[in-house]
């Protein structure tokens, strides 16, 4: 590990900690740091802690999956949603919301579980669509992902357009993404999945370097290409599905954060993945503060903030450095 990288990583960790504290203080109402930890504020504090933890893990997971898929698919435009998970989960959630699905034992978990199941089903469908014999071509994956996404999006559009007012609002709110925690079990599940997903990705990151050079080259260097693809495919699917089913579709993070992180660390995925995780966490926590504060007393959907703030920032970044990255 060289000094530059260590310094950058330390700086990112400090920034993340600072933004987390900022988020605890600046909710919809500002509570000074001194009184935040007083006994009377315990309820609010717990809510805010839950929320900021969800924002950190969602941002980190989406950014890491974006970095994984950009390397694996050798495509700088890849993001966590490109293989059809988001539209699958979206359909699952929208159906659950519209049907007022409330499975007795699951209770409030019905919607996220339905989204999770639909998301995994759609990505499995994409996987088997692109499988030819024992091989899964990355171009076929991209193509079938895009096709399945647009098909399912069509179905979602239809259901939403045919919905009653009340259902329409909750469906739209879900589709635009949010970081509200309404169940500690969901939060702990998401935290566990994100953390283990990120750790496994860091351990296997070396293979992404080799895969990003090309599959034939990877084969000649003795890498089991199909096994590697399946590993990363499963990691990214489970991570994305868990985030989407709890937070809805928070767009843009998974696309731009890896590019920003790559400017800090270079393309080596062993450094890129930790940096992406930290940058993604910071970005989403800051966006979450903006979502609560900008249109107070209303809360804006965080997916709107990530896209509206991220777009111009990204363009600025691309324009500033004309050197090829």
């Amino acid at each position: 590990m060289n000094a530059d990288y260590a310094r950058a990583l330390a700086l990112l960790v400090l920034t993340l900690i600072a933004s987390v504290f900022l988020s605890l203080v600046m909710g919809s109402v500002t509570i000074p740091m001194g009184s935040l930890f007083s006994p009377g504020m315990k309820g609010i504090l717990m809510l805010r802690i839950g929320r900021v933890l969800l924002a950190v893990s969602a941002g980190a997971s989406l950014a890491v999956v974006g970095a994984i898929l950009q390397g694996l698919l050798k495509n700088p435009l890849a993001d966590p949603y490109i293989l059809g998970i988001s539209s699958g989960s979206g359909l699952g959630a929208v159906i659950a919301i519209m049907l007022g699905l409330n499975i007795p034992i699951l209770g409030s978990l019905s919607i996220p579980l339905s989204a999770f199941a639909f998301g995994l089903c759609s990505i499995m469908f994409v996987y088997f669509l692109s499988k030819k014999g024992s091989r899964v071509g990355t171009e076929d994956l991209l193509l079938s992902g895009v096709i399945v996404t647009s098909m399912l999006s069509g179905v979602i559009m239809y259901i939403v357009s045919a919905a009653e007012r009340e259902g329409l609002h909750s469906a739209l709110w879900w589709l635009l993404g949010n970081t509200q925690v309404y169940d500690p079990r969901l939060l702990s599940a998401v935290l566990a999945i994100s953390l283990s997903g990120i750790i496994i990705s860091v351990i296997l990151a070396r293979h992404l370097n080799i895969m990003s050079i090309g599959e034939e080259e990877a084969l000649s260097m003795g890498l089991d290409v199909e096994k590697t693809k399946i590993f990363f495919f499963i990691i990214s699917s489970v991570m994305t599905a868990s985030i989407v089913s709890v937070c809805g579709m928070i767009g843009f993070v998974g696309l731009i954060i890896p590019h920003i992180a790559r400017r800090i660390t270079g393309p080596d995925h062993r450094r890129l993945i930790p940096a992406s995780a930290l940058c993604g966490g910071i970005y989403l926590v800051l966006c979450d503060i903006a979502a609560r504060r900008l249109a107070y007393p209303m809360e804006l959907p965080i997916g709107v903030i990530t896209a509206v703030c991220g777009g111009p920032f990204f363009i600025l970044l691309l324009r500033r450095s004309k050197v090829p990255d």
Binding site: R206, N209, I213, L219, G222, P267
Partner: protein
């Protein structure tokens, strides 16, 4: 027993065979050139020997072992391939690319050790890239890029090095530079070389034996003096040429000849 035996290979992509019935054998430490017209199957043959693709028929034996039945990582420690160029959307540094060659020595969940970095340092040194190790691959010249591919292959510590047109798009200085590097590796480390080449004169100067292929089949496999004959070249390449002998090496040199009258 021969070091490498290619026996009656039929291979290609999808269901389409590109090469048919190719057989040859190579001794340890030999420099073999594969020559033939564009699209004759040189690259396909190299990909089959390195198990990037599986042949439809036939076997490739390394010692007594069937290459296509070997574990990939085990094979990659014995056979390395340097392809035509680095096609990456990301700009890795030279050192990062060469380190990838250590992959077959590192377990699936493992990471590189001090020994691996030492081997990378050695591969960079052998290919004269030490000075460029932190340079981005997108900023290299074609000749330097080819050296990086060779360095990465050397990091695999192979017994057999496969090269696919390592001198394509290079000027005469870089051509001899790269081929001298390969020859010195062959002579000093006993590395066996199989190299697909377009330039017949370079093939003649550097290779111990040449495999001439045409339309996916082997025409002949012999020393350059027996392969580079005007009648053979004329029928395979459909080009008029004169073959002479180089003064210094005594190897044949091929001079193209215009069919238009002056």
């Amino acid at each position: 027993m021969n070091f490498l035996q290619v026996k009656n290979i039929e291979s290609g992509y999808g269901a389409k065979a590109v090469i048919r019935g190719i057989s040859f054998e190579s001794n340890k430490g030999e420099f073999i050139g594969i020559i033939g017209p564009n699209g004759s199957g040189k690259t396909t043959l190299l990909k089959t020997i390195s198990h990037i693709i599986k042949p439809f028929k036939g076997t490739v034996l390394l010692g007594a072992q069937d290459i296509h039945a070997m574990d990939r990582a085990v094979l990659a420690r014995r056979v390395a391939m340097a392809g035509r160029g680095i096609l990456s959307i990301f700009s890795f540094t030279v050192e990062e690319i060469v380190l990838m060659g250590r992959n077959p020595y590192i377990g699936f969940f493992g990471h590189e050790k001090k020994k691996d970095l030492e081997k990378v340092r050695r591969a960079l040194e052998l290919t004269g890239l030490t000075r460029l190790k932190d340079k981005l691959i997108h900023c290299l010249s074609a000749g330097e890029g080819q050296r990086v591919l060779i360095a990465r292959a050397l990091a695999q510590e192979p017994e057999l090095l496969l090269l696919d047109e390592p001198t394509a798009h290079l000027d005469i200085g870089y051509q001899t530079d790269i081929l001298d590097l390969i020859r010195s590796l062959q002579r000093e480390s006993g590395l066996s070389i199989i190299c697909a080449m377009h330039d017949l004169n370079l093939a003649s100067q550097y290779c111990d034996r040449l495999l001439l292929i045409h339309n996916g089949s082997a025409v002949d496999f012999d020393i350059p003096q027996c392969i580079l004959r005007y009648d053979i070249l004329e029928s395979v390449f459909n080009a008029a040429c004169v073959v002479d002998n180089a003064i210094l090496s005594g190897r044949p040199i091929v001079i193209p000849f215009s069919r238009c009258s002056r």
